[in-house]
Symmetry: C2
Subunit: 334 residues, 2 copies
């Protein structure tokens, strides 16, 4: 049905190799170039990338495996990555594994069968077993947000410890001493780092670390609400809370609203991620903001670099990016 290079060759009287050379930036005599372009025009020819992929053994497609597309943090990063990769001719196959290790494993296998040229992964399984087979193919992997011990590859991270420290210090400066934290699941490295930042900073500030001020949420809205309720119940003297991801921040706000507790009069709050939400809250939330744009740039950049110089077994790099604080009105001056 559709025209092929053979048709172009026949019509122009040129050889296959010449046509191919034309499409791959080779040198072609001016008059032949014209002939070819005419033929393309008339036959509505379009290179068949599938055939090309077979021959070159590359699909110009990158697989992306994330825990949850329906999550602003992920979505923002993906948008950025997709944009950059596409501008370099790479397509993006996204697999949402719903924060499920089993599904994550299947997603990687699926993409591997589709012969993607590389995989970008915000890992759920911190063991990294799901990547082992793919890595054997020698194709590049770039990890986002969480590093995995066993897997040697580039990663793009955020300085979570510092992020927590920044939040804590801000609350301290405003006079807060009894500061609670809604942390994440212990098996997630980012959650551990944020908690570590909290503990370290409390020590630095000579504040006692009280078990009752630490609650482990599950990174969901409901979990955030419940965690906030627990904190409030067990700590009558608590004046501020640091929440360590977006969903739980939302949950914490919901929880406080439902308990009828005013922000920041009764409880001050420092949230995490999602500027628009923080601005829409009343009062505006003070939050720790992650540089999603930069994460996307670095990630796509590292991937493209690996793809171009696939030969060189360059050292793996680990980027660590800084968070920033966006000031709202959710912290009371004591």
């Amino acid at each position: 049905m559709a025209a092929t290079m053979k048709d172009i060759a026949k019509r122009t009287g040129l050889g296959l190799a010449t046509i191919s050379s034309y499409f791959n930036g080779g040198n072609v005599r001016e008059k032949n170039r014209k002939k070819i372009e005419e033929a393309i025009e008339e036959l509505h020819y379009e290179v068949n990338e599938v055939a090309r992929n077979l021959k070159t053994n590359a699909t110009k497609t990158i697989g992306v495996v994330i825990p949850e597309l329906n999550n602003t943090f992920c979505a923002e990063i993906i948008t950025g990555i997709e944009d950059i990769l596409r501008s370099h001719g790479y397509a993006t196959m996204i697999c949402d594994c719903r924060t499920d290790k089993q599904l994550e494993q299947e997603a990687v296998e699926f993409l591997s069968r589709k012969r993607v040229d590389g995989i970008i992964n915000m890992p759920v399984d911190t063991e990294g077993g799901h990547l082992k087979d793919f890595q054997k193919t020698g194709k590049p992997i770039v990890l986002i947000d969480r590093k995995i011990q066993g897997v040697v590859c580039d990663s793009v991270l955020v300085d979570n410890e510092q992020a927590a420290a920044d939040a804590l210090k801000l609350l301290y400066e405003k006079g807060h001493r009894n500061i609670g934290i809604i942390g994440g699941p212990e098996e997630i490295s980012t959650a551990r780092e944020r908690l570590k930042g909290y503990c370290r900073t409390m020590e630095e500030l000579n504040l006692p670390i009280r078990e009752s001020l630490i609650v482990h949420g599950d990174y969901t809205i409901q979990g955030g609400a419940k965690a906030m309720e627990t904190l409030v119940e067990n700590n009558p003297d608590m004046t501020a809370v640091f929440v360590t991801n977006y969903e739980m921040t939302m949950g914490a706000v919901i929880g406080l609203n439902e308990l009828g507790i005013r922000i920041p009069e009764r409880i001050s709050l420092v949230g995490f991620d999602n500027l628009p939400f923080a601005r829409a809250c009343n009062p505006k939330l003070t939050i720790v903001s992650q540089p999603t744009e930069k994460i996307a740039e670095k990630t796509a950049g590292l991937m493209l670099e690996r793809l171009e110089n696939s030969g060189s077994a360059a050292e793996t790099t680990t980027e660590k990016l800084e968070t920033s604080i966006i000031y709202g009105k959710s912290i009371a001056q004591l």
Copy 2:
């Protein structure tokens, strides 16, 4: 490097056709089946889908073009679609066109070159010119959220007129008479429908349609905030506002907060989309909710149907789904 079917054939002593038949559900004698499976195991063989794609002239990949991945409504739908398609062996290539017609056109061309088997599109360009060339290939197109006159294909829509009517009637029942609306851009059909629903219902309720109560936003947060400020300024007697998409709902809430106007004491609000946000607001927002899950199901379903019976030129179907109202506390009883 990697094993091919030829290797399997050699190792088992069988012919190529038999191996192929094994992989495509054909009948193979028990002992041969065993031999093949052993060989696969030992050689770590995996079907090369690229070669298969070339031969079968199908990529088992669907292109998805949306205005903005970083938008809950889109993201929720995409997640659902991706999930269903993947479970049927189809990969999903997502292109975010940033609500730009030019980029949308390029995205479709990009996917077309990648030889996707079909395209799912939440269109930005309501003329549909960007789809013309792709449609000539005879491959299926499914439109979401917005229909296009010139393009004959399946579409999955939402009953926007009814959605607006529901919101209006609810406000009316609570005693509101001076009801403003923050509409969307006039060139977007969903926005027109929602506005039409507003006008029609106002008439039905014998309420005068005042120009000053109608503001056209641009579907962004900033636009929502500005629109709300305009409405408040020009309508001192206005007691309620209906906002017609999620971003502008967020913006409207921000705007009211910044003006120091209490919800619902001074102004009642009916928002649109995104349940979690609505619940996190104080007070909880009453919103019109779109059935994203169902939209995803219908869309993926229609696409799969077309792909299976690609021969039959069945009538195109247009699904129209119902919205629902989620009750919060953002409407005052007058």
